[in-house]
Symmetry: C2
Subunit: 697 residues, 2 copies
């Protein structure tokens, strides 16, 4: 953790440079919020004109500001910003929020000025947040360095780090209407200095923060982000909304792996490696965050549904399934208890339908019974406005049960403690508003529809599963291998223990015959040309050549065919190798992503890779579990165990090659793309039949 960022969150004193007495100016808003926030440290204002603001003096010179002062909020004209940073440095201020805009976001001139700011800051040991940001918020300290309309957000356990200031502002107002709060909010702006990777561990340190949400438009340093996030997610959940999917163009690639791995795939696998949950929408991100903030993690995926109406119960059952959850099979004791309590026409099987007449007591009693069932890992309570009671009467009774359960929990590492989450599908609006507030005050998350409650329960189960895996599995360690003496593809693979077939270059038909004789028939013959990447596309592969005559005929035909198709291709001859026994064929590849490093691909090989797209990706280096999961995700992988008349082959050897190739790719940054296609998987062992590689010189 980087203690140089502490002044942003725990300053002993704050100065606003560019404070203003005009209410329409940002420099007024920042000063107002700083005071209104209730910040307990020293607050000082610097302005061009002396005077008074909020009963405090306006200094005209930063050097006049008395101690202590650790943090500056700078809202001065763009051009004056570097000078102001220098003044801060001289004054001993080690952190500054640059609210001003007009830098990199407006073009080359602004970018140059931004660089100057960073240079000046570095030379004085000042850390910068922004420019072009709306600052920071801490509801618990409290501290508000923004100019947003008051009041501050409610206190809460969600830390929110955002690349977009406008998105921050909109979310703060939206959250107010939804009734949830935040622990800390950080707007990163242009990230001239401090970026998301710096900030993530910093907000994770805050004791009030129980979950971190990231709005990301990019990543500054993918490799370090994954490392930092991986550490954070061991203790606190992180959810990211990564935008800019539609901007990620496809680059020209020399391999199938390269063609299929876009930058969005890279973000997906990087988040997976780091344990960061990727949300599809902003609403989903906060639906998950509110559950992770307030609910214990379940011990399993078996959920009960408690409802007073059939329809929403069916929606709930559907949406549990869509989120990877299961309908708990209630035990006999539970069924008896529910039967004896509920009217005969109620349904005591999950979903438990108490009927429309259900009273507040019925809700509470049934919830208690369900929570006591060891087959139940969590409960979704469906609460539309009850026909005969007020919703808030039901809320009151439910909260008693949920709070009692929460009280029993606690102690030990919060990340590892387990319980039974309860999510409320509080359906309606005006008739449920009071109940919603009551649940909110009691830290019970509510959702307007069962679908969203199910998504939230799904996030809890996913988080629990992630932590289980982290406990039971060792993080991948890279293999120690000797450096290959030569950079040829085969030698490189051999150095990592990946078996290839002996392959020899023949420059003419006679040499091919000689080599074939040496290797022993049957053999395979492939065109050798630096200009032909996809050999079978041009008739450049001849399989199962059984005797000398077939070889000679085949050689002649191949050359003739290729010369007609690719007259300009440089032909070096043919590669000859032994025919390998029958087996299944898969593709294993690696491609270097500019942000995150080597991405691994596994899937259905052959020439149809890009059409069929039966492939899975993960970030190198891989551990056993990650390699196994890639295999499980594809049909090519699932059928390794055999399917119908297809005999099973050696799945473990495939996992072995995946791990080894991931280490190769991880340890050889000069390898841009490497692809084994096909990897022939035999009943015992595997053979890399064809390999192509592209590396930087």
């Amino acid at each position: 953790m980087d203690s140089s960022l502490t002044p942003f969150f725990r300053p002993r004193g704050v100065v606003v440079v560019g404070a203003s007495t005009s209410p329409e100016k940002l420099g007024y808003g920042v000063a107002r919020n700083l005071i209104a926030s209730g910040y307990q440290g020293a607050i000082h204002f610097v302005s061009q004109k002396s005077g008074e603001l909020f009963e405090r003096p306006l200094y005209t010179n930063l050097s006049d500001v008395p101690d202590p002062v650790d943090l500056a909020i700078i809202i001065v004209p763009t051009q004056s910003t570097p000078q102001t940073i220098e003044d801060c440095g001289k004054r001993g201020i080690k952190a500054a929020v640059i609210v001003s805009s007009g830098f990199r976001e407006v073009g080359a001139q602004g970018a140059a000025l931004e660089l100057l700011c960073v240079e000046v800051a570095r030379s004085h040991g000042v850390r910068l947040l922004g420019p072009n940001c709306i600052g920071t918020l801490d509801t618990h300290l409290p501290l508000d360095t923004t100019f947003l309309q008051p009041p501050m957000p409610e206190q809460g356990g969600i830390a929110f780090v955002s690349h977009s200031g406008a998105f921050c502002a909109a979310i703060i107002d939206w959250a107010r209407g939804q009734g949830f709060g935040f622990s800390q909010i950080v707007s990163l702006g242009n990230q001239a200095d401090v970026n998301e990777t710096d900030m993530l561990p910093e907000v994770a340190k805050d004791e009030h923060t129980r979950v971190i949400v990231l709005y990301m438009e990019s990543v500054s340093d993918g490799v370090h982000f994954v490392q930092a996030a991986r550490e954070v997610t061991k203790h606190k959940p992180v959810i990211a909304l990564k935008v800019g999917r539609s901007e990620s163009g496809q680059k020209a690639a020399a391999s199938h792996t390269g063609a299929l791995a876009g930058s969005e795939v890279a973000f997906d696998v990087a988040f997976a490696k780091a344990g960061v949950f990727r949300a599809d929408t902003a609403e989903q991100m906060f639906d998950w965050a509110r559950a992770l903030e307030n609910c214990p993690l379940p011990r399993g995926k078996n959920m009960a549904i408690l409802t007073n109406a059939g329809g929403p119960g069916v929606i709930a059952a559907d949406s549990l399934a869509m989120n990877g959850l299961l309908l708990a099979k209630l035990n006999e004791f539970t069924l008896k208890a529910l039967s004896s309590y509920l009217p005969p026409s109620a349904s005591v099987h999950n979903p438990v339908d108490m009927l429309a007449s259900a009273s507040p007591e019925a809700y509470a009693t049934c919830l208690k019974i369900l929570l006591e069932d060891e087959n139940v890992n969590g409960v979704m309570v469906i609460l539309p406005p009850p026909p005969m009671f007020k919703t808030e009467e039901v809320a009151e009774k439910l909260i008693e049960i949920i709070s009692a359960q929460a009280a029993v929990l606690g102690g030990g590492d919060a990340a590892l403690s387990r319980g039974k989450p309860v999510a409320i599908a509080l359906m309606g609006s005006t008739l449920v508003e009071e109940a919603r507030k009551m649940f909110q005050r009691s830290n019970v998350p509510t959702y307007p529809f069962p679908e969203r409650a199910a998504s939230a329960l799904g996030a809890l189960a996913k988080r629990a599963e992630y932590l289980e895996r982290k406990q039971t599995l060792k993080v991948s360690e890279t293999l120690k291998v000797s450096e290959p003496k030569d950079n040829s593809v085969e030698q490189l693979l051999t150095a990592y223990g990946i078996q290839t077939t002996p392959i020899k270059l023949a420059r003419n038909a006679d040499e091919a015959a000689f080599i074939a004789n040496e290797l022993g028939f049957p053999v395979v013959m492939k065109i050798a040309s630096p200009d032909i990447l996809h050999k079978s596309d041009v008739g450049g592969v001849l399989l199962n050549i059984k005797d000398m005559l077939s070889l000679q005929n085949g050689y002649a035909q191949m050359m003739k065919h290729i010369k007609s198709l690719k007259p300009d291709a440089r032909i070096e001859g043919v590669h000859v190798q032994r025919q390998i026994p029958e087996g299944q064929e898969v593709i294993i590849g690696a491609v270097r992503d500019p942000l995150f490093g080597a991405l691994m691909m596994f899937g259905s090989g052959g020439i149809e890779v890009e059409g069929l797209k039966d492939v899975a990706f993960a970030l190198a280096p891989l551990n056993q579990a990650e390699a196994r999961e890639m295999i499980r995700k594809t049909w090519a992988g699932r059928k390794l165990k055999g399917f119908r008349s297809i005999p099973p082959v050696d799945e473990e050897s495939v996992i072995d090659v995946l791990i080894k190739l991931s280490c190769l790719a991880y340890e050889h940054p000069e390898v841009e793309e490497i692809e084994i296609n096909p990897l022939r998987v035999l009943s015992r062992g595997v053979v890399a039949v064809d390999v192509r590689m592209k590396s930087v010189v």
Copy 2:
């Protein structure tokens, strides 16, 4: 259309049978709502005790109620319901809403009573809605036959038909908070008589209804539902939330097609055939409905984004792409107009970012410019609380532009008119609430996030595309074919013009040799056994037999192998057919769904069908466009045109077989499953290599 349902919507008089003076009784609620709704027809009350309610007499006998009275709302004890229906019939009342519960939903006894109700009703020509429903609502007539807490929903253009009364009630309250209204609401209850298929054309008739949403737990008669819905969607959009996905079990199947076609697939293809849009969640259903209610349909998929902040603009661009929409390429005139109006650091390319300082006038001016660009088919305006202005000031200016555009439209068939929809991503809560109400009053749909606005614009584009297709394509007409003389699979296929290979049964090796000689080598030999469905699984297929010796050896080996694997299988001999030339192989199948009839499947064939799942489904009979779309959806179909070194084959012949097989399946209800696997697709023509069929005796 069924005029017997008219009294539910246009009664001249209504009687509440079971009206009550006790405010906690449903019979009080119904009476109260009927009067409070402002219904203009006659209102009468029947009760066990005489007296007065809401200044109206309580009759003790239905026969005493004066004319006119067309509709009865029945809230009497369950047991008395049949008698009450009979009284209605005798009194000349032709429609009754049965609010009472305690019928089929509580077990066998209740089901019997429900049947009795239907019998009594039929014998008197009375149509029943319910039992166990909450009745109907019409905000425009107005008429409210429910007992729900007042006030009635707002007036609107959305008709809502629901299998669940509780879901109705919750949605009505939720809609109130969201600020949108309804035209009509119908709760169907147990559907003893009137079901969703009856009701759909009825609500479509209402002039105030612009879009219909269905909450469905099942379908009463799938074939009629598709027919009725297909008619309705020609004129008005229909959106369905079909729940109960998780309940649909997989049944045992004799073919790959049968194994892959679950009941959810059947609903998907039935909705597709009927032009009903299937929503994933309740929120999505109403997001779409509000757009379809209020916006013109776009002429294309090119959307512009107008924003005052970069972040939400990026989210918007992403989510347009995820909803099948495109970022419009603004024309030169637009770019110039925007450049000259906006500050230099604004972005005039789509997404158009006016920067945070954007004024209400800037929003309006830029929207107007964008709407005038012929490359722009619709606009998403992103409106977080602007830092320097009130949101409602922006709303006011935007509404002027949008309303002016709307005024230009109009005239002609509403379903066919086109315009430029504008959806607002109104981000925030308290600071945007007033603006939200203003947009609502002006019939401009707003959404809290760009993702949901994009989903709504996507629904508009999808609806426009659906109507285009309906105009340009003829609905499928079934082929006229002669009835096959024999039910054998080959003859059946031949009768529909699907070519199979001549195939002959040989009962021993000698007969096989004789037949092979007759057909000409090379031949294919397949085991003939009623007990072996998947022949290649047991080594029961031998390909490319080139001569007599190979045939005789092959026969002996096959028999030996199968006897060891399947000693109990009845072996009739082998089928011999000519070896067919190389080509691509696909699977084409049909399976009878109990609700909707024949479902067609197309995709990657061979033995890996169920593992690979590269298949698409559609409801028979197929037209050209539907068959082509099935092909386009699968990799097996896309590569028919050729891919890399795979040569192109005869795609048109595949479409031809798909259509013909769909006609066969449609016209032969005795065919439970029929599957051509593989269908060999040659450079010209196709051959059904292997066919299996299961039919009811």
